[in-house]
Amino acid sequence: MSIPIQISVGSNIPIYWQIVDQVCKAVAAGSLVPGDQMPSVRALAEQLVVNPNTVARAYSDLVRDGVLETHRGKGVYVAGRRSVFSKEEQDRRMDQALDVFLHEAMLLGLTGAEIVDRLSAKLSVLSKSSTGETVDE
């Protein structure tokens, strides 16, 4: 089974992290659904042409974070329901994401009010598209 993961070697982002990130994004976007079987560590390593230990590390992080789960003797699968992060871990991740977002917004000179407006607009677009309505430009 071929997973649509593309890694970019020579970027500033370590390879194992790119794999983690892309699997998470595929799950969030729905191109990987709960119950889907992931390729074995070796198969993915050979597909991406990277060291199997790098893939193993990515899978290990994904299992730890509850995105993937192992079925003993059968392999690695997309987890049925994302395990709930601990409150501390949720807070930590959210803080990190907010720092990046706000840093960029400030760099661009947005006021607090503008930031909130943009955020609200984005949120309403997201909720519309998830209910199947089309979004016109």
């Binding site: 390879i15 042409v49 990277v50 060291n51 230990n53």
Partner: protein, 306 residues
């Protein structure tokens, strides 16, 4: 069986009064893919030739698969696949004749592997070696090296002169080879993107001296780059500890450090910048800053350094 496919202690080589390799201690874990890096002339090929028993060390010792490198018996050579720099073959031989020639030396030989690699590189059995491109010769040499199913592969700059497709085939073969868990690969390379893809551990040789010996991830974590912005003039960073490289800019400094710690952070703050940001740095840039001119501060990177 030892945990290490290769162990070197104090390996040293002088040519006349020139020290080419200086007191090298190395341990290549069994089952690992080990990248041997360094600038041209750093001593990598000489080290490899010493390990393969082709050059006599001036001092020091090494074992390869448990055998003394100065005296590798046939049973050791049967388990080592050595691919020297340059992909040399007898140019009057065809691919098939090379196979016949090489297989006669080996008790163990897999035609399945030989022709599999030949096929992977798109070669024909009747092709004459002298008509092969560089990449095709590399494929042939790799097939000849892999067919005896060696436990240890030693590849000296195997991607030299290869086009991107051949390079990719080479990498794929390297990963494929490690399907058998006890197989070890030691290879030297300048192609840092390839090194980043496939290695577990790296060792960096600089002017004959070992300057790093660690997991690839450790190297990447320990080399960090910061951007400092200044309102007025930009201070001279030369006195900063653990500094590998500095790039001055317009009211800013870009600084790369090895093993940056609390002390470094304090010294950066003491320069009174208006802001300090960490800037992500890729493996190639980190390596260049580590090994470049400014890096001559004997900074050593291994698992234990902090």
């Amino acid at each position: 069986m030892s945990d290490y496919a290769i162990e070197a202690h104090g390996l040293t080589k002088y040519y006349g009064s020139r020290e080419i390799v200086s007191r090298l201690d190395l341990a290549v874990p069994r089952g690992s893919i080990f990248g041997f890096l360094g600038r041209n002339g750093a001593g990598k090929s000489t080290t490899i030739r010493m390990l393969m028993g082709l050059v006599e060390p001036t001092r020091g010792a090494a074992t390869v698969l448990g055998y003394d490198c100065r005296n590798l018996p046939p049973e050791a050579r049967a388990r080592i696949g050595y691919l020297p720099e340059g992909h040399n073959v007898y140019d009057w031989m065809t691919v098939e004749q090379c196979r016949n020639f090489q297989s006669a030396f080996h008790a163990r030989w897999s035609d399945k592997i030989f022709w599999g690699v030949i096929d992977h590189f798109g070669l024909k059995s009747k092709a004459k070696a002298k008509n092969l491109s560089r990449g095709e010769r590399a494929g042939l040499c790799l097939a000849l090296t892999l067919a005896p199913e060696p436990d240890l592969l030693v590849l000296d700059d195997p991607a030299l002169g290869l086009d991107p497709v051949a390079r990719r085939s080479l990498l794929e073969s390297m990963i494929y080879v490690t399907r058998k868990e006890d197989r070890t690969i030691l290879f030297s390379s300048h192609l840092l993107a390839d090194v980043e893809r496939v290695t577990d551990r790296i060792a960096v040789l600089d002017g004959g001296v070992l300057r790093a010996d660690c997991l690839l991830g450790t190297f990447q974590e320990r080399i960090r780059r910061f951007r400092l912005k200044f309102e007025g003039s930009v201070p001279d960073p030369a006195a900063l500890p653990k500094l590998l490289h500095s790039t001055p800019g317009d009211h800013e400094l870009l600084l790369t450090f090895a093993n940056s710690d609390r002390d470094v952070q304090d010294r950066l703050s003491a320069l009174a910048p208006t802001r300090i940001d960490e800037v992500p740095i890729g493996f190639e840039d980190a390596f260049i800053d580590f090994i470049g001119d400014r890096g001559r501060k004997s900074l050593f990177l291994d698992e234990s350094a902090q």
